[in-house]
């Protein structure tokens, strides 16, 4: 009900003005998003169903019938799962350590995690190429120390792809996890200890459950970025690893088949949305913001 009381009209006008300022400030980004994201994506979506002005499901049928496509889906999925699992195993202790450090040391360590994050993707990928090649630093060291006789095949294959991607993904896991862990009050583990929990028990029963929202956020982020990853598998896979994104690139650049490329893009997009949806069902945002708060 609109009030007709003292100054009511003026107060309403003030509120409206504040809202329109906010809308004015956000409108440029909405326009850019609309022009540069939604329109092209919509256009690609359209392309994936239309072949020479006729509606067709051929692009989607091909994904099911052709074994090559199935193998690409499998490779992409396996790679993403493996890199995600390894990121968790390597990243969790890092985030935990940084969260336990006093603030100054923590910010130094966090910067160390972030430096590679700020370095260009292509530079890092080439760096791994140099490190991991047959006569590269890693193989030379391992042979000098007498750990191996022959150089290992560390690059131009699945292994190289995993190593390179892992390096790029770990910050994506560490950052949300660290933010979550920082918010976990130290009193929780202290309380667990005072109630009789040994340090491992306190970790498994109290600390880990409280860090799950951050862990889940990091895991989903890493997995989704992995699904669409292009540069690193392309350069470190040496043609032996074909991921979904590489197939899309191939369809466009080599075969000029925009329909096939678009349909793969659509599938990737739908899978990503589904993962996000499932994630938000399992871990409502409310809980993410609440953890550790009192």
């Amino acid at each position: 009900m609109i009030s007709a009381g003292l100054n009511a009209a003026g107060i309403r006008a003030d509120e409206l003005r504040e809202r329109s300022i906010l809308a004015g400030l956000t409108s440029p980004s909405f326009v850019i998003l609309g022009l540069l994201l939604f329109i092209p994506v919509g256009w690609l979506f359209w392309l994936s169903f239309i072949e020479q002005d006729v509606f067709t499901l051929e692009n989607y049928a091909r994904m099911v019938t052709e074994p090559a496509y199935r193998s690409i889906f499998m490779t992409t999925f396996q790679l993403s799962v493996l890199v995600t699992v390894l990121s968790v195993l390597l990243g969790y202790p890092v985030a935990y350590m940084i969260a336990m450090l006093p603030p100054r040391a923590a910010s130094i360590c966090l910067t160390l995690v972030l430096i590679p994050f700020w370095t260009a993707l292509l530079v890092r990928t080439y760096a791994w190429l140099v490190l991991l090649q047959r006569r590269g630093v890693v193989n030379t060291l391992l042979m000098d120390w007498g750990i191996i006789e022959e150089p290992l095949q560390l690059v131009h294959n699945f292994t190289g792809t995993v190593i390179g991607m892992l390096h790029i993904m770990i910050p994506f896991l560490v950052l949300p996890l660290y933010a979550n862990m920082r918010a976990i009050d130290r009193d929780y583990t202290r309380a667990a200890a005072s109630l009789g929990a040994s340090p491992p028990t306190a970790f498994w029963k109290v600390y880990l459950p409280l860090s799950i929202p951050g862990l889940a956020a990091g895991t989903v982020m890493v997995f989704i970025i992995c699904l669409g990853f292009y540069i690193t598998p392309q350069f470190l896979g040496g043609g032996r690893v074909t991921t979904l994104s590489m197939k899309i690139q191939q369809n466009v650049a080599t075969y000029f088949n925009w329909g096939a490329a678009s349909s793969l893009g659509v599938v990737l997009f739908v899978v990503t949305i589904l993962i996000f949806w499932g994630f938000s069902r399992l871990f409502p945002l409310r809980r993410l913001t609440e953890v550790g708060g009192s």
Binding site: Y188, R190, A193, S194, L195, L210, S294
Partner: protein
Amino acid sequence: MTTAGALPITVRGLERRYGRVAALDGVDLDVAQGEFLTLLGPSGSGKTTLLMIMAGFTRPDAGSVKFGGVEMVRTPPHKRNLGVVFQSYALFPHMDVAANVAFPLTLRGVSGAERERRVKTALDLVQLGDLGARRVDQLSGGQRQRVALARAIVFEPGILLMDEPLSALDKKLREQMQIELRHLHQRLGTTIIYVTHDQREALTMSDRIAVIDKGRIQQIDTPRVLYEAPNSHFVADFIGDSAFIPVTVSGGVARWRNEVLRLPRPSADGAYLLVLRPEKLLLGGGTDLNGIDAEVAEIVYQGDSVRIDVRLEGGDLVTLRELARAGRIAALPAEGSRIRLGLDPADTILVPAP
């Protein structure tokens, strides 16, 4: 539910430095079995450090902490068998109320009906018997406080440590919980170490209070002795709302300016401060009272009482308090009038001048 195994605590030579600052500077402390001892001090005094060392969360640089004669200073916290109630409550948000309270029992291998029974008993004791299935975030501050307490006593520890457990509650609830904690202590008989910076809370609940400042215990005694016979300017100033005026004792006679003051017991010659508390000062003199001349500076009505600020000869401002009864209010002197203040010799407290 009672704790048969309440334990005495012995602390000797406890030291802890943070950089150049001594948080604890050689603390000795004896707490009797079943005693309610409060560590009272301003922030940064070392009281929380002392509690954290007893709990095992902080390592001292040196010293001994014994529970029931057993050295604990190098024992990890989970093997000390202590109940700890935290200022933040630290209730596990991923467990419901009953699971929180059952946590220490599960760790001790108590399960099934026995565990359920003990959880119920503990929750009943804090008057939350029917809230076992609630999530922690559905509880009010006072309820969380009670759950934290139930969780800390459900495994019947011999010692209960409490770190400002009531400071997050509003005044009314805090005062109610103080009385409840007192009763709970009487029922359980557990040895309790309670940290607070709230002097009234300390006076209300404790068997004894240790006043801590600069990493040392300044005075340790019953609430009444601490209040009525403080041993230093710091203790007299920290407990109670006191004003101080300089007094000299020479030849066994205490004097403020030209006024001779009778004392409850003889003091050695020297410089002292007279502790003037608002409720001890009386409007108007008397033959059996010490008397001081003053001028009424300001009168403030505060509901339950009236605050009267008076200026002494020499300019010192002193506060006294009259209960707000109709007869007394009617008889109040006017602002600016000259009056004589009375002070019972038994309430004439001297502390050494710092």
